[in-house]
Subunit: 249 residues, 2 copies
Protein backbone atom coordinates (compact mmCIF):
# COMPACT_ATOMS: atom_id res chain seq x y z
CA UNK A 1 0.00 0.00 0.00
CA UNK A 2 2.01 2.92 -1.31
CA UNK A 3 1.72 6.46 -0.01
CA UNK A 4 -0.47 8.62 -2.18
CA UNK A 5 0.60 12.12 -3.04
CA UNK A 6 -2.68 13.95 -2.99
CA UNK A 7 -1.42 16.98 -4.87
CA UNK A 8 -0.42 14.80 -7.79
CA UNK A 9 -3.98 15.11 -9.04
CA UNK A 10 -4.17 18.22 -11.21
CA UNK A 11 -6.88 19.48 -13.49
CA UNK A 12 -6.15 20.86 -16.93
CA UNK A 13 -9.26 22.93 -17.48
CA UNK A 14 -10.16 21.11 -20.69
CA UNK A 15 -13.70 19.86 -20.93
CA UNK A 16 -16.07 18.77 -18.17
CA UNK A 17 -14.68 18.76 -14.66
CA UNK A 18 -15.58 15.14 -14.00
CA UNK A 19 -13.63 14.17 -17.08
CA UNK A 20 -10.62 16.24 -16.07
CA UNK A 21 -10.58 14.37 -12.80
CA UNK A 22 -11.00 11.06 -14.56
CA UNK A 23 -8.14 11.73 -16.94
CA UNK A 24 -5.88 13.09 -14.23
CA UNK A 25 -6.21 9.94 -12.18
CA UNK A 26 -6.11 7.66 -15.20
CA UNK A 27 -2.81 9.25 -16.21
CA UNK A 28 -1.34 8.66 -12.79
CA UNK A 29 -2.35 5.04 -13.04
CA UNK A 30 -1.28 4.21 -16.56
CA UNK A 31 2.00 6.08 -16.18
CA UNK A 32 2.85 3.84 -13.27
CA UNK A 33 3.13 6.77 -10.89
CA UNK A 34 0.36 5.17 -8.87
CA UNK A 35 1.19 1.48 -9.21
CA UNK A 36 -1.35 -1.26 -8.48
CA UNK A 37 -2.27 -1.31 -4.81
CA UNK A 38 -1.80 2.42 -4.32
CA UNK A 39 -4.71 3.82 -2.39
CA UNK A 40 -6.56 6.63 -4.09
CA UNK A 41 -7.56 9.54 -1.83
CA UNK A 42 -11.15 9.34 -0.59
CA UNK A 43 -13.82 11.38 -2.27
CA UNK A 44 -13.83 14.01 0.44
CA UNK A 45 -10.12 14.66 0.13
CA UNK A 46 -10.26 14.97 -3.64
CA UNK A 47 -13.30 17.16 -3.32
CA UNK A 48 -11.44 19.66 -1.16
CA UNK A 49 -8.21 19.41 -3.07
CA UNK A 50 -9.93 20.07 -6.38
CA UNK A 51 -12.71 22.36 -5.29
CA UNK A 52 -15.36 20.18 -6.89
CA UNK A 53 -18.48 18.74 -5.35
CA UNK A 54 -18.45 15.22 -4.05
CA UNK A 55 -20.88 14.02 -6.72
CA UNK A 56 -18.56 15.25 -9.43
CA UNK A 57 -15.58 13.47 -7.95
CA UNK A 58 -17.78 10.45 -7.46
CA UNK A 59 -18.75 10.41 -11.11
CA UNK A 60 -15.12 10.37 -12.18
CA UNK A 61 -14.24 7.56 -9.80
CA UNK A 62 -17.26 5.47 -10.71
CA UNK A 63 -16.28 5.67 -14.33
CA UNK A 64 -12.69 4.69 -13.64
CA UNK A 65 -13.98 1.76 -11.64
CA UNK A 66 -16.14 0.65 -14.53
CA UNK A 67 -13.13 0.88 -16.79
CA UNK A 68 -11.31 -1.41 -14.42
CA UNK A 69 -8.49 0.93 -13.43
CA UNK A 70 -9.48 1.19 -9.82
CA UNK A 71 -11.35 -0.93 -7.31
CA UNK A 72 -13.67 0.65 -4.79
CA UNK A 73 -15.03 -0.73 -1.56
CA UNK A 74 -17.14 0.98 1.02
CA UNK A 75 -15.26 2.02 4.08
CA UNK A 76 -11.95 0.54 2.86
CA UNK A 77 -11.64 3.13 0.14
CA UNK A 78 -10.35 3.05 -3.39
CA UNK A 79 -7.18 1.39 -4.66
CA UNK A 80 -5.48 1.12 -8.01
CA UNK A 81 -6.39 -2.20 -9.61
CA UNK A 82 -3.91 -4.80 -10.72
CA UNK A 83 -4.31 -4.88 -14.47
CA UNK A 84 -5.93 -8.00 -15.88
CA UNK A 85 -3.21 -10.42 -16.91
CA UNK A 86 -4.95 -11.53 -20.03
CA UNK A 87 -6.90 -9.83 -22.72
CA UNK A 88 -10.34 -10.88 -23.81
CA UNK A 89 -9.85 -11.73 -27.42
CA UNK A 90 -6.93 -13.92 -28.07
CA UNK A 91 -4.79 -14.09 -25.22
CA UNK A 92 -1.73 -15.83 -24.71
CA UNK A 93 0.01 -13.31 -22.59
CA UNK A 94 1.19 -16.03 -20.31
CA UNK A 95 2.09 -19.27 -22.01
CA UNK A 96 2.52 -21.28 -18.80
CA UNK A 97 -0.97 -20.28 -17.80
CA UNK A 98 -2.31 -21.15 -21.21
CA UNK A 99 -0.79 -24.62 -21.04
CA UNK A 100 -1.93 -25.30 -17.52
CA UNK A 101 -5.46 -24.31 -18.36
CA UNK A 102 -5.40 -27.10 -20.88
CA UNK A 103 -4.57 -29.39 -18.00
CA UNK A 104 -1.12 -30.21 -19.32
CA UNK A 105 2.27 -30.14 -17.67
CA UNK A 106 4.28 -27.06 -18.53
CA UNK A 107 8.01 -26.85 -19.16
CA UNK A 108 10.30 -24.61 -21.16
CA UNK A 109 13.89 -24.35 -22.34
CA UNK A 110 15.85 -21.26 -23.23
CA UNK A 111 17.57 -22.44 -26.39
CA UNK A 112 19.62 -19.34 -27.04
CA UNK A 113 20.31 -15.93 -25.65
CA UNK A 114 22.40 -13.14 -27.07
CA UNK A 115 22.79 -9.68 -25.61
CA UNK A 116 23.94 -6.91 -27.83
CA UNK A 117 22.91 -4.70 -30.71
CA UNK A 118 19.80 -5.40 -32.70
CA UNK A 119 20.20 -6.84 -36.16
CA UNK A 120 19.09 -4.53 -38.97
CA UNK A 121 15.83 -6.44 -39.41
CA UNK A 122 15.02 -6.30 -35.74
CA UNK A 123 15.87 -2.62 -35.57
CA UNK A 124 13.62 -1.97 -38.55
CA UNK A 125 10.74 -4.00 -37.25
CA UNK A 126 10.85 -2.28 -33.95
CA UNK A 127 11.90 1.26 -34.68
CA UNK A 128 15.09 0.92 -32.68
CA UNK A 129 18.43 2.57 -33.27
CA UNK A 130 21.28 0.22 -34.07
CA UNK A 131 23.00 1.56 -30.98
CA UNK A 132 20.30 0.44 -28.59
CA UNK A 133 20.92 -2.62 -26.49
CA UNK A 134 18.66 -5.59 -26.79
CA UNK A 135 18.42 -9.15 -25.58
CA UNK A 136 17.51 -11.76 -28.14
CA UNK A 137 16.00 -15.00 -26.91
CA UNK A 138 14.77 -18.24 -28.35
CA UNK A 139 12.56 -20.31 -26.09
CA UNK A 140 10.73 -23.56 -26.63
CA UNK A 141 7.64 -24.16 -24.53
CA UNK A 142 6.41 -27.68 -23.96
CA UNK A 143 3.07 -29.10 -22.92
CA UNK A 144 3.18 -32.62 -21.50
CA UNK A 145 6.68 -32.87 -22.86
CA UNK A 146 5.68 -32.17 -26.45
CA UNK A 147 6.70 -28.96 -28.19
CA UNK A 148 3.89 -26.46 -27.84
CA UNK A 149 5.12 -23.18 -29.21
CA UNK A 150 8.38 -21.70 -30.36
CA UNK A 151 9.09 -18.20 -29.07
CA UNK A 152 11.55 -15.73 -30.52
CA UNK A 153 11.81 -12.55 -28.53
CA UNK A 154 13.64 -9.27 -28.54
CA UNK A 155 13.68 -7.16 -25.39
CA UNK A 156 14.69 -3.54 -25.37
CA UNK A 157 17.12 -3.26 -22.46
CA UNK A 158 16.49 0.42 -21.80
CA UNK A 159 12.81 -0.20 -21.19
CA UNK A 160 13.25 -2.91 -18.56
CA UNK A 161 15.03 -2.93 -15.23
CA UNK A 162 17.23 -5.82 -14.20
CA UNK A 163 17.32 -7.49 -17.59
CA UNK A 164 21.07 -8.14 -17.55
CA UNK A 165 20.91 -9.94 -14.22
CA UNK A 166 18.06 -12.22 -15.15
CA UNK A 167 18.82 -15.61 -16.64
CA UNK A 168 15.22 -16.77 -17.09
CA UNK A 169 15.98 -20.02 -15.31
CA UNK A 170 12.94 -19.74 -13.07
CA UNK A 171 10.49 -17.81 -15.17
CA UNK A 172 10.11 -17.63 -18.93
CA UNK A 173 10.75 -14.19 -20.37
CA UNK A 174 7.15 -13.39 -21.22
CA UNK A 175 5.97 -13.87 -17.65
CA UNK A 176 9.05 -12.20 -16.23
CA UNK A 177 8.36 -9.13 -18.33
CA UNK A 178 4.80 -8.93 -17.13
CA UNK A 179 6.16 -8.44 -13.63
CA UNK A 180 9.12 -6.24 -14.44
CA UNK A 181 7.82 -3.83 -17.02
CA UNK A 182 4.85 -1.72 -17.88
CA UNK A 183 3.15 -1.55 -21.23
CA UNK A 184 0.63 0.92 -22.51
CA UNK A 185 0.16 -0.28 -26.05
CA UNK A 186 0.31 -3.62 -27.77
CA UNK A 187 -0.16 -4.80 -31.32
CA UNK A 188 -1.03 -8.29 -32.36
CA UNK A 189 -0.77 -9.77 -35.81
CA UNK A 190 -1.85 -13.25 -36.77
CA UNK A 191 -0.92 -15.01 -39.96
CA UNK A 192 -0.31 -18.48 -41.31
CA UNK A 193 3.08 -19.67 -42.45
CA UNK A 194 4.82 -22.92 -43.25
CA UNK A 195 7.39 -24.09 -40.75
CA UNK A 196 11.01 -23.53 -41.81
CA UNK A 197 13.61 -26.25 -41.57
CA UNK A 198 14.99 -25.38 -38.14
CA UNK A 199 11.61 -24.46 -36.74
CA UNK A 200 10.12 -27.73 -37.91
CA UNK A 201 12.94 -29.66 -36.24
CA UNK A 202 12.42 -27.89 -32.95
CA UNK A 203 8.67 -28.29 -33.00
CA UNK A 204 9.01 -31.89 -34.17
CA UNK A 205 6.79 -31.43 -37.17
CA UNK A 206 7.34 -31.72 -40.90
CA UNK A 207 8.95 -28.87 -42.79
CA UNK A 208 6.33 -26.72 -44.47
CA UNK A 209 3.63 -27.80 -42.04
CA UNK A 210 1.13 -24.94 -41.63
CA UNK A 211 1.65 -22.95 -38.45
CA UNK A 212 -0.03 -20.02 -36.81
CA UNK A 213 2.33 -17.12 -36.42
CA UNK A 214 1.40 -14.66 -33.68
CA UNK A 215 3.51 -11.53 -33.60
CA UNK A 216 3.16 -9.14 -30.74
CA UNK A 217 4.91 -5.86 -30.11
CA UNK A 218 4.47 -3.84 -26.96
CA UNK A 219 5.36 -0.29 -26.05
CA UNK A 220 5.30 1.79 -22.94
CA UNK A 221 4.62 5.46 -23.61
CA UNK A 222 5.71 4.92 -27.23
CA UNK A 223 9.01 3.42 -26.14
CA UNK A 224 9.48 -0.14 -27.35
CA UNK A 225 9.49 -2.81 -24.66
CA UNK A 226 9.49 -6.13 -26.42
CA UNK A 227 8.61 -7.88 -29.63
CA UNK A 228 7.84 -11.55 -29.88
CA UNK A 229 7.03 -14.09 -32.57
CA UNK A 230 5.16 -17.17 -31.44
CA UNK A 231 4.97 -20.10 -33.82
CA UNK A 232 2.22 -22.61 -33.10
CA UNK A 233 1.79 -25.86 -35.02
CA UNK A 234 -1.47 -25.15 -36.83
CA UNK A 235 -3.18 -28.48 -36.56
CA UNK A 236 -2.86 -28.42 -32.81
CA UNK A 237 -4.02 -24.90 -32.01
CA UNK A 238 -6.89 -22.60 -32.47
CA UNK A 239 -7.62 -19.27 -30.85
CA UNK A 240 -11.14 -18.67 -29.85
CA UNK A 241 -12.99 -15.55 -28.85
CA UNK A 242 -16.58 -14.84 -28.01
CA UNK A 243 -18.40 -11.55 -28.10
CA UNK A 244 -21.60 -9.71 -28.82
CA UNK A 245 -22.30 -7.00 -31.38
CA UNK A 246 -21.60 -4.24 -28.92
CA UNK A 247 -18.28 -5.52 -27.63
CA UNK A 248 -16.54 -8.36 -25.90
CA UNK A 249 -18.74 -10.54 -23.76
Amino acid sequence: MTETRLDAVKLDGAGPVYDQIRRAIRDLVVSGEWPPGTSVPPEHALMEQLGASRMTVHRALVQLAREGLIVRRRRSGTVVATPPASHAMLDILSIPEEVRQLGQAYAYEVLARTDGRPSPEVAELFGLKRSDKVAHLIVLHRADGKPHVLEERVIHAAGVNGLADEDFAETPPGDWLLQHSLWSQAEHAISAIGAGEEQAALLEIAEGEPCLLVERRTWNQSQPVTAVRLLYPGFRHRFVGRFGPYGAA
Copy 2:
Protein backbone atom coordinates in the same frame (compact mmCIF):
# COMPACT_ATOMS: atom_id res chain seq x y z
CA MET B 1 -37.61 6.54 -37.30
CA THR B 2 -39.88 3.98 -35.71
CA GLU B 3 -42.63 4.78 -33.25
CA THR B 4 -41.55 4.24 -29.68
CA ARG B 5 -43.84 2.51 -27.25
CA LEU B 6 -43.13 4.41 -24.07
CA ASP B 7 -44.71 1.83 -21.79
CA ALA B 8 -42.36 -0.83 -23.09
CA VAL B 9 -39.85 0.35 -20.52
CA LYS B 10 -40.47 -1.54 -17.31
CA LEU B 11 -38.49 -1.79 -14.13
CA ASP B 12 -37.92 -5.07 -12.36
CA GLY B 13 -37.12 -3.81 -8.90
CA ALA B 14 -33.76 -5.56 -8.77
CA GLY B 15 -30.80 -3.43 -7.74
CA PRO B 16 -30.28 0.31 -8.21
CA VAL B 17 -32.93 2.20 -10.11
CA TYR B 18 -30.53 3.63 -12.66
CA ASP B 19 -29.40 0.14 -13.48
CA GLN B 20 -32.93 -1.15 -13.80
CA ILE B 21 -33.58 1.58 -16.32
CA ARG B 22 -30.33 0.81 -18.12
CA ARG B 23 -31.11 -2.89 -18.38
CA ALA B 24 -34.70 -2.31 -19.40
CA ILE B 25 -33.66 -0.18 -22.33
CA ARG B 26 -30.70 -2.36 -23.19
CA ASP B 27 -32.99 -5.35 -23.43
CA LEU B 28 -35.34 -3.53 -25.76
CA VAL B 29 -32.38 -2.70 -27.97
CA VAL B 30 -30.61 -6.03 -28.08
CA SER B 31 -33.82 -7.96 -28.51
CA GLY B 32 -34.52 -5.97 -31.62
CA GLU B 33 -37.76 -4.59 -30.24
CA TRP B 34 -36.27 -1.15 -30.66
CA PRO B 35 -34.30 -1.53 -33.88
CA PRO B 36 -31.56 0.89 -34.87
CA GLY B 37 -32.96 4.33 -35.60
CA THR B 38 -35.81 4.04 -33.11
CA SER B 39 -36.03 7.19 -31.07
CA VAL B 40 -35.79 6.71 -27.34
CA PRO B 41 -38.22 8.77 -25.26
CA PRO B 42 -36.71 11.98 -23.88
CA GLU B 43 -35.53 12.10 -20.31
CA HIS B 44 -38.61 13.94 -19.12
CA ALA B 45 -40.96 11.35 -20.52
CA LEU B 46 -39.05 8.46 -18.99
CA MET B 47 -38.83 10.34 -15.75
CA GLU B 48 -42.60 10.63 -15.51
CA GLN B 49 -43.29 7.15 -16.83
CA LEU B 50 -40.92 5.59 -14.33
CA GLY B 51 -41.32 7.91 -11.39
CA ALA B 52 -37.60 8.52 -11.15
CA SER B 53 -35.76 11.80 -11.09
CA ARG B 54 -34.27 13.16 -14.26
CA MET B 55 -30.71 12.70 -13.01
CA THR B 56 -31.35 9.03 -12.44
CA VAL B 57 -32.77 8.53 -15.90
CA HIS B 58 -29.88 10.59 -17.22
CA ARG B 59 -27.36 8.35 -15.56
CA ALA B 60 -28.82 5.26 -17.20
CA LEU B 61 -28.87 6.89 -20.63
CA VAL B 62 -25.36 8.26 -20.33
CA GLN B 63 -24.10 4.82 -19.57
CA LEU B 64 -25.93 3.23 -22.47
CA ALA B 65 -24.46 5.90 -24.70
CA ARG B 66 -20.97 5.10 -23.47
CA GLU B 67 -21.61 1.45 -24.20
CA GLY B 68 -22.53 2.43 -27.72
CA LEU B 69 -26.12 1.20 -27.74
CA ILE B 70 -27.67 4.60 -28.16
CA VAL B 71 -26.63 7.94 -29.61
CA ARG B 72 -27.62 11.17 -27.93
CA ARG B 73 -27.69 14.67 -29.32
CA ARG B 74 -28.96 17.82 -27.72
CA ARG B 75 -32.31 18.91 -28.90
CA SER B 76 -32.61 16.07 -31.45
CA GLY B 77 -32.96 13.51 -28.73
CA THR B 78 -31.76 9.96 -28.31
CA VAL B 79 -31.88 7.19 -30.89
CA VAL B 80 -30.88 3.55 -30.93
CA ALA B 81 -27.46 3.24 -32.54
CA THR B 82 -26.70 1.15 -35.56
CA PRO B 83 -24.38 -1.50 -34.21
CA PRO B 84 -20.78 -1.14 -35.27
CA ALA B 85 -20.26 -3.17 -38.41
CA SER B 86 -16.86 -4.36 -37.40
CA HIS B 87 -15.37 -5.56 -34.20
CA ALA B 88 -12.18 -4.20 -32.74
CA MET B 89 -9.96 -7.20 -32.77
CA LEU B 90 -10.07 -9.14 -35.92
CA ASP B 91 -12.81 -8.09 -37.98
CA ILE B 92 -13.83 -9.17 -41.25
CA LEU B 93 -17.51 -8.98 -40.82
CA SER B 94 -17.82 -7.44 -44.22
CA ILE B 95 -15.44 -8.81 -46.80
CA PRO B 96 -16.27 -6.23 -49.48
CA GLU B 97 -15.46 -3.51 -47.02
CA GLU B 98 -12.25 -5.22 -46.03
CA VAL B 99 -11.13 -5.47 -49.64
CA ARG B 100 -12.06 -1.92 -50.51
CA GLN B 101 -10.17 -0.62 -47.52
CA LEU B 102 -7.10 -2.17 -49.03
CA GLY B 103 -7.81 -0.07 -52.10
CA GLN B 104 -8.56 -3.06 -54.28
CA ALA B 105 -11.46 -3.80 -56.57
CA TYR B 106 -13.96 -6.18 -55.07
CA ALA B 107 -15.86 -8.95 -56.80
CA TYR B 108 -17.39 -12.25 -55.77
CA GLU B 109 -18.94 -15.38 -57.24
CA VAL B 110 -21.41 -17.75 -55.69
CA LEU B 111 -19.93 -21.08 -56.70
CA ALA B 112 -22.60 -23.30 -55.25
CA ARG B 113 -25.79 -23.17 -53.33
CA THR B 114 -27.89 -25.97 -51.94
CA ASP B 115 -31.00 -25.61 -49.82
CA GLY B 116 -32.07 -28.48 -47.69
CA ARG B 117 -31.23 -30.44 -44.59
CA PRO B 118 -27.91 -30.01 -42.87
CA SER B 119 -25.35 -32.73 -43.27
CA PRO B 120 -24.52 -34.63 -40.08
CA GLU B 121 -21.27 -32.71 -39.61
CA VAL B 122 -22.94 -29.36 -40.03
CA ALA B 123 -25.74 -30.33 -37.69
CA GLU B 124 -23.19 -31.43 -35.13
CA LEU B 125 -21.05 -28.36 -35.43
CA PHE B 126 -24.01 -26.12 -35.04
CA GLY B 127 -26.31 -27.89 -32.69
CA LEU B 128 -29.05 -28.18 -35.29
CA LYS B 129 -31.62 -30.91 -35.74
CA ARG B 130 -31.39 -32.89 -38.94
CA SER B 131 -34.90 -31.70 -39.68
CA ASP B 132 -34.00 -28.01 -39.71
CA LYS B 133 -33.70 -26.27 -43.02
CA VAL B 134 -30.45 -24.67 -44.01
CA ALA B 135 -28.85 -23.04 -47.00
CA HIS B 136 -25.33 -24.08 -47.83
CA LEU B 137 -23.20 -21.70 -49.89
CA ILE B 138 -19.74 -21.58 -51.33
CA VAL B 139 -18.50 -18.14 -52.32
CA LEU B 140 -15.21 -16.96 -53.71
CA HIS B 141 -14.25 -13.36 -53.01
CA ARG B 142 -11.76 -11.62 -55.25
CA ALA B 143 -9.60 -8.54 -54.77
CA ASP B 144 -8.34 -6.96 -57.99
CA GLY B 145 -9.42 -10.09 -59.77
CA LYS B 146 -7.28 -12.42 -57.68
CA PRO B 147 -8.79 -14.89 -55.25
CA HIS B 148 -8.89 -13.32 -51.82
CA VAL B 149 -10.79 -15.65 -49.57
CA LEU B 150 -12.91 -18.74 -49.92
CA GLU B 151 -16.13 -18.74 -47.94
CA GLU B 152 -18.21 -21.73 -46.98
CA ARG B 153 -21.37 -20.83 -45.18
CA VAL B 154 -24.39 -22.44 -43.60
CA ILE B 155 -27.45 -20.35 -42.84
CA HIS B 156 -30.23 -21.51 -40.58
CA ALA B 157 -33.38 -20.73 -42.50
CA ALA B 158 -35.61 -20.41 -39.45
CA GLY B 159 -33.47 -17.62 -38.06
CA VAL B 160 -33.57 -15.40 -41.12
CA ASN B 161 -36.44 -13.86 -43.05
CA GLY B 162 -36.51 -13.93 -46.82
CA LEU B 163 -33.69 -16.37 -47.27
CA ALA B 164 -35.44 -18.50 -49.86
CA ASP B 165 -36.14 -15.52 -52.11
CA GLU B 166 -32.63 -14.17 -52.04
CA ASP B 167 -30.20 -15.27 -54.73
CA PHE B 168 -27.20 -13.28 -53.50
CA ALA B 169 -26.67 -11.85 -56.95
CA GLU B 170 -26.33 -8.29 -55.65
CA THR B 171 -24.92 -8.76 -52.19
CA PRO B 172 -22.71 -11.51 -50.83
CA PRO B 173 -24.35 -13.57 -48.08
CA GLY B 174 -22.28 -12.15 -45.21
CA ASP B 175 -23.34 -8.59 -45.91
CA TRP B 176 -26.88 -9.59 -46.71
CA LEU B 177 -27.16 -11.31 -43.35
CA LEU B 178 -25.91 -8.26 -41.54
CA GLN B 179 -28.93 -6.42 -42.87
CA HIS B 180 -31.50 -9.16 -42.57
CA SER B 181 -30.75 -10.75 -39.25
CA LEU B 182 -29.81 -9.98 -35.71
CA TRP B 183 -27.09 -11.62 -33.72
CA SER B 184 -26.43 -11.49 -30.03
CA GLN B 185 -23.47 -13.81 -29.73
CA ALA B 186 -20.59 -14.74 -31.96
CA GLU B 187 -17.66 -17.05 -31.63
CA HIS B 188 -14.47 -16.80 -33.60
CA ALA B 189 -11.80 -19.40 -33.98
CA ILE B 190 -8.57 -18.97 -35.84
CA SER B 191 -6.25 -21.73 -36.89
CA ALA B 192 -3.75 -22.59 -39.58
CA ILE B 193 -4.32 -25.32 -42.09
CA GLY B 194 -2.91 -26.49 -45.38
CA ALA B 195 -5.08 -25.90 -48.43
CA GLY B 196 -6.85 -29.01 -49.72
CA GLU B 197 -6.86 -29.94 -53.37
CA GLU B 198 -10.09 -28.23 -54.37
CA GLN B 199 -9.50 -25.26 -52.17
CA ALA B 200 -6.03 -24.73 -53.57
CA ALA B 201 -7.39 -24.84 -57.10
CA LEU B 202 -10.03 -22.23 -56.34
CA LEU B 203 -7.62 -19.94 -54.53
CA GLU B 204 -5.00 -20.48 -57.22
CA ILE B 205 -2.32 -21.57 -54.80
CA ALA B 206 -0.37 -24.76 -54.32
CA GLU B 207 -1.95 -27.66 -52.49
CA GLY B 208 -0.79 -27.73 -48.87
CA GLU B 209 0.02 -24.03 -48.88
CA PRO B 210 -0.51 -22.66 -45.33
CA CYS B 211 -3.79 -20.82 -44.93
CA LEU B 212 -5.53 -18.99 -42.14
CA LEU B 213 -8.83 -20.56 -41.30
CA VAL B 214 -11.30 -18.27 -39.61
CA GLU B 215 -14.42 -19.96 -38.35
CA ARG B 216 -17.26 -17.91 -37.06
CA ARG B 217 -20.58 -18.98 -35.64
CA THR B 218 -23.32 -16.54 -34.67
CA TRP B 219 -26.45 -16.91 -32.65
CA ASN B 220 -29.41 -14.76 -31.83
CA GLN B 221 -30.84 -15.43 -28.38
CA SER B 222 -29.14 -18.84 -28.43
CA GLN B 223 -30.74 -19.74 -31.73
CA PRO B 224 -28.18 -20.43 -34.46
CA VAL B 225 -28.08 -17.93 -37.30
CA THR B 226 -25.10 -18.79 -39.43
CA ALA B 227 -21.75 -20.52 -39.43
CA VAL B 228 -18.96 -19.66 -41.80
CA ARG B 229 -15.46 -20.86 -42.61
CA LEU B 230 -13.18 -18.38 -44.29
CA LEU B 231 -9.98 -19.65 -45.83
CA TYR B 232 -7.31 -17.01 -46.45
CA PRO B 233 -4.04 -17.75 -48.22
CA GLY B 234 -1.61 -17.30 -45.36
CA PHE B 235 1.22 -15.51 -47.06
CA ARG B 236 -1.08 -12.77 -48.21
CA HIS B 237 -2.99 -12.03 -45.02
CA ARG B 238 -2.52 -11.04 -41.47
CA PHE B 239 -4.99 -9.86 -38.91
CA VAL B 240 -3.90 -7.04 -36.74
CA GLY B 241 -5.28 -5.65 -33.51
CA ARG B 242 -4.12 -2.93 -31.17
CA PHE B 243 -5.01 -2.45 -27.55
CA GLY B 244 -3.89 -1.31 -24.13
CA PRO B 245 -3.70 -3.27 -20.90
CA TYR B 246 -7.13 -2.17 -19.79
CA GLY B 247 -8.95 -3.00 -22.99
CA ALA B 248 -9.20 -2.30 -26.66
CA ALA B 249 -7.83 1.03 -27.77
